[in-house]
């Protein structure tokens, strides 16, 4: 199986304002195969976002290497695209123009951009809002447009940093369903950072659990639930409870209230 994303013994250290060296993540060693969706879950401040930044090439690793599609990542590249909690849509561009943003950066022809954007907006159920401006859309719709923009550049790997955490619970479930279905249809590979235990289980093949800072991976949970294209159904599966209990124990959630 082809390895889409690979972290080889990666450590990231920052120099704090006082001049001390702070280790954000340490000894990360994992890979994601083609078509796999992997979630990363961990306490806040454990370096999950640092990990995504290294994957996208925005931040270099202090030690170790990151590979995307077998290529060493040293700078931003067209193989990965990321999506954040904020939709980051540009207010002066219509929804279609926003979806075309990455393609325009990559100098694709306007006819080609058009075709790709319209097709993805259809998949993301935004066909009626192609020429609207972001401020005319609801939060959930904007985040769907952000997903379309991420998919438009046809990345080998999608890096997602809590993309749904700003949405209300019901919109969130709808978007998870959209994402699960779209990823299953397109066979995309994704690394998904989240705080939401159920979201991690519903959407991914595997869940990696990280420790407190300096973040390291302390457990890998393989989610043995069928039907990846239907997170809504996966949520209701009988094995979800067991996985949640395991995650809660690993993250010491019950101890926090004791």
């Amino acid at each position: 199986m082809k390895r889409r994303l690979e972290f080889r013994n990666v450590t990231k250290r920052f120099t704090s304002r006082k001049g001390d060296s702070v280790t954000a993540v340490s000894g990360l060693d994992f890979h994601i195969d083609d078509g796999e969706i992997v979630s990363i879950i961990g306490p806040s401040g454990c370096g999950k976002s640092t990990l995504l930044n290294m994957g996208s090439g925005l931040d270099p690793a202090t030690e170790g290497e990151v590979y995307v599609d077998g290529e060493l990542v040293t700078k931003p590249n067209a193989h990965v695209a990321f999506m954040l909690q904020k939709d980051l849509l540009l207010p002066w561009r219509t929804i279609r123009e926003n979806v075309e943003f990455g393609l325009e950066v990559q100098h694709r022809s306007s006819a080609e951009r058009h075709t790709i954007a319209l097709e993805l907006l259809r998949k993301c159920r935004l066909s009626d809002f192609v020429d609207h401006y972001p401020h005319q859309l609801s939060g959930g719709m904007r985040q769907r447009a952000a997903l379309a923009r991420t998919l438009a550049v046809d990345p080998a790997v999608l890096l997602m940093d809590e993309p749904f955490s700003a949405l209300d619970a019901q919109t969130k479930m709808v978007l998870q369903q959209d994402l699960g279905r779209t990823l299953a249809e397109t066979g995309k590979t994704a690394l998904f950072v989240t705080h939401d235990l159920v979201e991690a289980i519903a959407l991914s093949h595997r869940v990696l659990v990280m420790s407190q800072r300096p973040g390291r991976i302390i457990r890998e949970i393989i989610v043995d639930i069928p039907d990846m294209g239907n997170p809504m159904a996966r949520r209701k599966h009988q094995r979800v409870g067991g996985y949640i209990a395991e995650l809660m124990e690993l993250l010491h959630i019950e101890e926090a209230v004791a």
């Binding site: 067209a78 954040l84 980051l88 540009l90 207010p91 002066w92 561009r93 950066v105 401020h135």
Partner: protein, 264 residues
């Protein structure tokens, strides 16, 4: 501002506004006389109108107006371009902003019109001192607004563009420049009125052209109506410039909801 002419409420408000103008003209014509205010303090509107016609015929009013308007426009455009350039450069380089900020602040606080006599010393009774005062006075609101706009761009938007492998030029063209347009136009509207002030002060200080010259000439001759005409012409230049900015703004910033535009 989007004015819907078909809206009956808008129609009524416009009629009210027009009625107010007529009332104002009537009051201007007869109220000073009724209150025993002599015409050399407040000349009635009919006197100002006949003075306007006289100035058109014998004082080259249109020539002086055109000179002033030209200086306002040239000063405005140059000040805008320089302000934008400085705003973008400082916005992109925090180091440059830090090093230059005390000097910029000092220049910003200094009353720009006070430079007019200095510029007259440097350039004589030409158009240049007037244009220069306008440039200086227009520069700051534009620079400050553009700088603020570049600074307030969400760094994550830039990171997103970089992750799509955007070049520095693409980031400027696709993010920083369009993001600055809202604050830029807010600055331009302020600058439009300031540019007229800059030019008039320059003309008052020295020279024999422009509305500022007619203004001080009228004052010296004790011709109050002439002063009124000059003030009205200056106001008209300001209104036309301001209107042109708003016109362009409504076309450029059409993506913004109207209420955000007005408060910008």
């Amino acid at each position: 501002m989007d004015i819907d002419l078909s809206d009956p409420l808008t129609k009524r408000m416009m009629a009210l506004s027009g009625l107010l103008f007529v009332l104002f003209l009537v009051a201007w014509e007869w109220l000073p006389g009724l209150m025993n205010i002599p015409p050399f303090i407040i000349p009635p509107v009919s006197k100002v109108w006949s003075e306007f016609l006289r100035m058109l015929a014998t004082e080259h009013l249109m020539y002086h107006t055109a000179i002033t308007a030209m200086q306002v426009i040239v000063g405005f455009v140059l000040g805008m371009l320089l302000g934008m350039a400085a705003g973008f450069l400082l916005g992109m380089s925090p180091t440059a902003e830090f090093v230059l900020s005390p000097y910029i602040l000092a220049l910003q606080i200094a009353p720009k019109v006070a430079f007019a006599p200095l510029f007259v010393i440097w350039f004589g009774y030409t158009v240049y001192p007037k244009i220069l005062v306008a440039v200086l006075i227009v520069f700051f609101p534009i620079m400050v607004n553009v700088l603020g706009a570049v600074r307030s761009i969400d760094p994550d938007i830039v990171r997103l563009a970089k992750s799509f492998t955007a070049s520095r030029l693409q980031i400027f063209r696709m993010i920083e420049f369009p993001a600055s347009l809202g604050p830029l136009f807010a600055g331009l509207r302020i600058a439009a009125t300031l540019a007229v002030i800059g030019v008039v002060v320059g003309e008052l200080v020295g020279g024999n052209t422009g509305l500022g010259y007619l203004l001080s000439f009228g004052e010296g001759a004790g011709n109050t109506a002439m002063v009124f005409v000059s003030i009205i012409m200056l106001t008209l230049i300001g209104i036309l410039l301001y209107g042109a900015i708003v016109f362009i703004e409504n076309r450029v910033l059409h993506f913004m909801p109207a209420r955000d535009r007005r408060s910008a």
